[in-house]
């Protein structure tokens, strides 16, 4: 080593405390007498500290991306769309990497797949009740809480190893985020939402399958272990077919003792609890109960839970089938009222940048029952007990406006619009309120006693059957539509003429869809499933692939040339099962006796090969096959469209 380098080493040894006492004394003596030497030491110290800091900064950046991915799993359609769009690509691609199954390694380019290669797995069995052709799988977990710990054994070589999230995001080949998000976002199953008081708990039936969820009070905890109080949002969604599973990031594979199994689902449900953006957890030794309506009764099926981080499944319990769930009243919404509305002129020149409304029961001052902050889409207080309330508006943390008496009626929604634009009148700030179905005369009389000098105008009342199905759309120069039965076009036309007469800012309440109660369409319920945490649960049978064949696809598409050598996200849907098998790479596996469909996600587009097209290729042995792809991106507006395309 050169002397200069030895010199650096000596400084490093000093800085890390690795010099002997004698060496240190000598070193410090020189340091104290030579200012240049001292400067050099300080520079080296600062540089090495900066290197470490740079490492830390990079690591927290990377971790943030990972954290967003894990958080995204709890975010339903109630969260801001913008955020979802920005992170969706990351979520998707990482999911695909995790989902890759039956990965093939080691083929050379000249002989892509050897004819003599041994079949991937043993004889496959797809076992359903009443099936006469298949044999049962000899997988029987040892009862509840059987934990599968077998390691993943996919043989990734440096060349074919799935990229990390950071690598993918930094890759030049990545598709622009906007393009990707549009199609994939449309193919997500939206979350349903209900609210509950953390101490009271709730019991509800899921919208789609009418499965029953019993969430006891007092079981929720914050991430730091403290008890949760106040209102909590329960978000849930169900995955009942391959079209709903395909882009869900839920791996339909399981590995046990080195053997790979496919998962054939009789229904999956994802449940999360959220408060103020934080995902809550369930306290130790607590659980919620699920009586789950299964799509079919499968032999050797069990109740599984998925670990959010490792994406691995744990067998929780056996399935005990019974008669379907009896109906219970849906959310008891008739016992509540709803308050929705919007602040406008919030961003005015007097530096107002946030506003808040809270309701306090009349005669019970100090006990706030519900509050909402200003945001871009207005405020919604969905579950307010009927009664009279005092509403307090705060601007910038100061209580600025108080309205003494707002009546909340069961099964009705009030719409409030709060104009926070200040103007001076007799020393008081004036706000203008619009409200629904109040007794105009009596309210005006009462409001005369309120310092805020408000004026009120009657607005719209929404029936209970439509509650929770409205979107607040910002439209500063339009009035509320009085007649919801008019077509949108007619309403806009009327609106325009109304606006000319009255130049009032307002907002539109637009009906999205009717809240129709879906009757239970399933014949069997699994009772008493205990769920000790939030996440994804699956009633599922695990099976081995029957007559497996390895396929190296070559793609043809009339509009776009697709490079066959690059890794792609590919999905096989075997219609004999309720599942999706995901592959990230250049190859995939199918059951040659399956009723296969194929999907390819590439460059922000989704391409498909239907069952009959796939069948016509007659793939019965390992090899390279050419696939004629159809770009189906535009026709896929929802999972329902995908379901139709796949013929499920």
């Amino acid at each position: 080593m050169r002397n200069e380098l030895k010199h650096i080493e000596e400084i490093e040894n000093y800085l890390s405390g690795n010099l002997s006492f004698a060496e240190k004394t000598l070193f410090e003596s020189r340091m104290n007498s030579d200012s240049n030497f001292l400067q050099e030491i300080e520079l080296q110290k600062s540089l090495t500290e900066r290197i470490a800091l740079k490492g830390f900064t990079n690591e927290i950046q990377n971790f943030h991306n990972e954290w967003l991915i894990s958080e995204s799993k709890i975010i339903g359609n109630g969260f801001q769309v913008k955020w979802i769009l920005n992170t969706f690509l990351a979520i998707f691609i990482t999911g695909i990497s995790a989902l890759s199954i039956y990965y093939f390694a080691g083929e050379n380019k000249e002989n892509l797949i050897s004819e003599n290669e041994k079949s991937i797995t043993d004889t496959t069995i797809l076992k359903k009740k009443k099936s006469t052709t298949n044999k049962s799988v000899s997988f029987i977990p040892n009862g509840p809480n059987y934990n599968v710990t077998a390691p993943t054994t996919y043989a990734f070589t440096p060349q074919n190893k799935p990229k990390t999230l950071a690598q993918i995001l930094n890759s030049d080949s990545i598709t622009p985020i906007g393009t990707v998000n549009n199609v994939l976002a449309r193919l997500q199953v939206p979350f349903e939402e209900i609210t509950m008081d953390a101490y009271e708990g709730t019991e509800f039936m899921t919208k789609y399958s009418r499965s029953r969820v019993v969430m006891p009070g007092g079981i929720l905890q914050h991430q730091d272990g403290s008890k949760v109080t106040g209102e909590v949002t329960i978000r849930y969604r169900e995955f009942r077919n391959a079209a709903e599973i395909v882009f869900s990031e839920i791996p339909m594979e399981h590995e046990q003792n080195g053997e790979k199994f496919q998962m054939n689902s009789a229904g999956m449900i994802e449940i999360r609890a959220i408060q103020n953006g934080e995902e809550l957890k369930i306290g130790k030794n607590n659980y919620f109960m699920l009586d789950y309506n299964v799509t079919e009764t499968l032999d050797d099926a069990y109740f599984w839970s998925m670990n959010d981080q490792s994406k691995k499944w744990t067998c929780e319990d056996t399935l005990k089938y019974g008669n379907p769930n009896p109906e219970i009243p849906d959310h008891k919404e008739e016992n509540y009222g709803m308050l929705t509305g919007k602040f406008f002129n919030v961003l005015s020149k007097d530096t107002i940048y946030y506003a808040k409304i809270k309701l306090t029961p009349v005669g019970d001052i100090g006990q706030t029952v519900s509050s909402a902050y200003y945001n871009d889409t207005g405020f919604v207080m969905p579950k307010i007990k009927p009664g009279r309330y005092m509403a307090t508006i705060s601007k910038n943390g100061f209580e600025s406006y108080v309205f003494e008496n707002i009546e909340i009626v069961a099964g009705k929604s009030r719409i409030l619009e709060v104009n926070l634009k200040p103007r001076k009148s007799n020393g008081h700030t004036i706000s203008k309120w619009f409200y629904s179905t109040f007794n105009k005369n009596s309210l005006n009389r009462k409001l005369k006693t309120v310092k805020a000098h408000a004026s009120l105008t009657s607005l719209k009342e929404i029936p209970a059957s439509l509650m929770g199905e409205f979107a607040m759309i910002e439209s500063p120069n339009e009035m509320i539509y009085d007649d919801m039965s008019l077509s949108k076009k007619e309403q806009r036309k009327n609106q325009q003429s109304a606006n000319i007469k009255e130049n009032k800012p307002s907002f539109i309440v637009e009906q999205k869809s009717k809240n129709e109660i879906v009757k239970n369409k399933f014949n069997h319920t699994v009772y008493g499933l205990k769920c000790a945490g939030f996440g994804v649960y699956n009633c599922d049978q695990i099976i081995k692939m029957k007559d497996p064949v390895k396929v190296r696809p070559m793609f043809r598409n009339s509009s776009e040339s697709i490079d066959n050598s690059t890794f792609k996200q590919m999905f096989i849907i075997d219609k004999n099962m309720n599942s999706v098998f995901s592959f990230y790479g250049t190859d995939f596996a199918i059951s040659s006796s399956g009723r296969n469909c194929f999907l390819l996600y590439h460059n922000g587009k989704i391409y498909g090969v239907k069952e009959e097209e796939f069948a016509s290729m007659k793939i019965t042995k390992d090899g390279t096959y050419e696939f004629q792809l159809t770009d189906i991106t535009k026709q896929l507006q929802s999972t329902e469209d995908l379901k139709k395309y796949l013929g499920l």
């Binding site: 520079l43 080296q44 540089l47 090495t48 290197i51 740079k54 490492g55 971790f63 943390g397």
Partner: protein
């Protein structure tokens, strides 16, 4: 996880475990910032700034925590956010405790930010070896094996060459800055 455990992890190259633990407070901080005039991006920036301050302190052997790391991060984040709002001429009303570390951090950032340019121009090979040693706290034996050096001495020589290069560039940068100021 105990306070000491987090400090040990940060000091011993197990930063990721520590970061995962510290990130548990992020939703609360984000909520606070959202409800005090900020958005998610701003919440992320503020929180990461607080993490960096925490990390820098954790690297000081004498640093100990009197409260939990989460409480510490929340206080620092609130302080940083109030400061940020002040810079934007936005009025805000929430109480914060004075955070000496924040002004110290701002001072050192100002003083040493120029070094980032130098470190960024060192090249991949140097960055890798320096990061593994000074950040991930790996031994030179491990690094030599991991990066495929012939032996430990070769790896060490490479590391010191990289430091030497950085020091030369830093001195050149300082000379240029002084000349420009003159």
């Amino acid at each position: 996880m105990g306070n000491e455990q987090i400090l040990i992890q940060l000091r011993s190259g197990k930063q990721k475990e520590a970061i995962a633990e510290l990130y548990k407070i992020f939703p609360s901080i984000r909520h606070f910032i959202r409800t005090h005039g900020g958005n998610d991006d701003e919440a992320k920036d503020i929180f990461q700034e607080a993490l960096i301050i925490f990390y820098k302190n954790a690297m000081k052997p004498e640093f100990t925590l009197s409260a939990t790391p989460h409480t510490y991060l929340f206080s620092v984040s609130k302080y940083l956010w109030k400061d940020e709002l002040k810079k934007k001429n936005k009025l805000v009303h929430f109480e914060v405790e004075k955070q000496e570390e924040v002004s110290q951090h701002e001072h050192t950032e100002e003083k040493f930010r120029w070094m980032d340019k130098i470190l960024n121009s060192l090249g991949e090979k140097c960055t890798e070896i320096l990061q593994l040693f000074y950040y991930k706290k790996q031994s030179m034996d491990e690094i030599a094996q991991q990066l495929g050096y012939k032996n430990v001495d070769t790896a060490k020589t490479q590391k010191y060459k990289c430091i030497e290069r950085a020091k030369v560039m830093a001195n050149e940068f300082n000379v240029k800055t002084i000349n420009n100021e003159l």
